[in-house]
Amino acid sequence: MKIYRTARTAMTALGRNPMRALLTTLGIVIGVGAVIAMMEIGTGSSAAIQKTIATMGANVLLVVPGTAASGGVSFGAGSVTTLTPQDGEAILRDSPAVRNVAPIVRARTQVVYGNRNWVPQQMLGTTAAFLDIRDWTSLAEGDAFTERDVLNANKVCLIGQTLARELFQGESPVGKEIRVKNVSFRVVGVLGAKGANMMGSDQDDILLTPWTTLKYRVTGSTLSNPNQSAAGSTSSSVNTLNKLYPGEAPELYPKQSETQAANTPLPVRFANIDQLLTAARSPEDIPAAIEQISEILRERHRIRDGQPDDFTIRDMTEMTNTLTSTTRLMTNLLLCVAMISLVVGGVGIMNIMLVSVTERTREIGLRMAVGARARDILRQFLVEAVVLCLVGGAAGILVGHGGSRLVEVLLRWPVATSLPAIAAAVLVSASVGIIFGFYPAWKASRLDPIDALRYE
């Protein structure tokens, strides 16, 4: 009741000089508007970046084999093949922080359907777990291949949207046969659209088959390097495990005599794969997953303490962190600029309130004469300043929100409505009102009623 009346008195007092009140408020409007717009654009960009990273496969850890080196010459990551599908199974079994593992075999070659052909950017041999890890379980058409397809090296494949468009041109690809290196594959499903990744490469330009099929039926050897032209040189000049499976038509399993099996307690490397794609249970589990994976792999690969790993674990969170911290930095920077304009707005309010106190000295004297206590006067002027700031803040929220919408529509920047920003803006504008309104209000309340009444 009382606060309502005070607020009403303040409104009336402000209404006596609407132009001045408007101009005073403008500072706060701009300040709060800037804060809101900055926050919305900042959170929007940050959310967009996180979403992009999520479509690339949240929590993904990529295990790639280490490098081969000869006479001090290194051949780069993946030039030795040390990973096996069994490594992946062991990781899935023994590492509690890992949600799923998919082996990956890569190839790059031509795909033919009818009189059309295309070279997909990615031709991956994997298991159905790949789709789970990459958050790609929603298929546009058909079904994913199964564990049985992997075991039997069935000639089935999933194709991405781009590939489907290039080869089939609007026809439904499901059930059709396509040829990869003269091997005929039946298309069992079409992947949902995923679009380009952060770096702009098209993720839909992809062909997925069971890794066994790609390895044994198509490429015939592990591709230590997806660029097939380089494969020969590394295998001939460097003593790598590439030698293990030479030739175009390897056996599915290496021949072993009974004696051999008994004499080699080591797990036999049935097959090598190019990469292991693993997913941690959550972003927080990523460090634990890295530790567990390297422990398991070092043990399985019999690497002594002090010896370097023969594999590398690549970690997407590094990228995520870099990008989000960049966004946060930008948001904070913009916030600082916006805060400065809020402070300028606050000083404007203080200035006007001081003028107002001087101008209304007689009114203050009169109010004191008819029974206003010092604290009533203090409250009245404080409420006036706060009302100015809150009205300015409300207008600022609208202006800022409208501004960010405009940015969204015109510049196509991602924005996100940020409730904390709105709450903060209201809080900040109220505190600006109190902080910068206090001095003039205090000055008004210190006036002597006799002097104030006689003030000319």
């Binding site: 009346r5 006596r16 007689r362 009114e363 004191m368 008819v370 029974g371 009623p449």
Partner: protein, 251 residues
């Protein structure tokens, strides 16, 4: 007990190192229901005395008893409350809030009377008082749209809105022409006679002072004439009986 009793009040202003005595031992009484004029030349201390009587200022020494309470020891907040409840002020320059309607001007003191009145009640009360001073058709007019006499009547309505027992009028006719002056003074007389409100008018104009029942003259910080309410008058009022012979009331 009189409504107002000053006992040996001194007021000294400190201007740098020099002490300037303005009131030099003032004692006076005002009885309930009196219409008193406080006269003196400028510099005589009448404004200071007025401020002390109106509880806008405190005496340097001496006692001020109002209605049985010693108000000279009150704190600033207590005096503010006292002014709100017991006093009405009318000023020479009206002191109305600019760009504010007559109704809002009159209702203004009510906003400090600890919200026992709702907004609507407050406005109703303000309207009633404005009707009493004959401005029922000027409720929504702003001071700039009113004549001097009307403005002063708004100021009187504002002084009356809390139903105070006492009204201080500081040169109420100083800015008015003689015709309006007479009107305003007649209004004071009416209020005094019909509502029994005690009125103290500060003036240097003998014509104004003529309307009062008693004239207190102050000169050089001392009361020179009419300091005390007539004892018989006061006694008569206490007994609630017929007015004393000197009283012009009761007509």
């Amino acid at each position: 007990m009189e409504l107002i009793e000053l006992r040996n009040v001194y007021k000294t202003y400190q201007l740098g190192d020099i002490a300037v005595p303005v009131l030099k031992g003032v004692s006076l009484t005002v009885a309930r229901g009196e219409l008193v004029a406080l006269m003196g030349t400028s510099g005589s201390g009448k404004s200071t005395l007025m401020n002390i009587l109106g509880c806008l200022d405190r005496p340097t020494s001496g006692e001020y008893w109002l209605d049985g309470e010693e108000v000279s020891v009150f704190s600033a907040d207590q005096r503010a409350l006292l002014r709100n409840r017991k006093f009405g002020f009318v000023f020479q320059n009206f002191n109305l809030l600019p760009r504010t309607t007559a109704l809002d001007n009159v209702a203004m003191p009510l906003s400090y009377t600890a919200g026992h009145l709702s907004e609507r009640q407050a406005r109703k009360q303000a309207r009633k008082v404005l009707e009493e001073v004959g401005l029922e058709d000027r409720l929504d007019h702003e001071p700039s749209q009113l004549s001097g006499g009307q403005q002063q009547r708004v100021a009187i309505a504002r002084a009356l809105v809390n139903h105070p027992p006492l009204i201080f009028a500081d040169e109420p006719t100083g800015n008015l022409d003689s015709h309006t002056s007479a009107e305003v003074l007649r209004m004071f007389q009416q209020l005094n006679e019909q509502a029994g409100i005690t009125i103290i008018i500060v003036t240097h104009d003998a014509l104004v002072a003529k309307h009062a029942q008693r004239i207190i003259r102050i000169h050089d910080g001392l009361i020179v004439e009419g300091a005390y309410a007539a004892g018989a008058q006061a006694a008569a009022r206490r007994a609630g009986s017929a007015p004393a012979p000197a009283d012009s009331r009761g007509a």
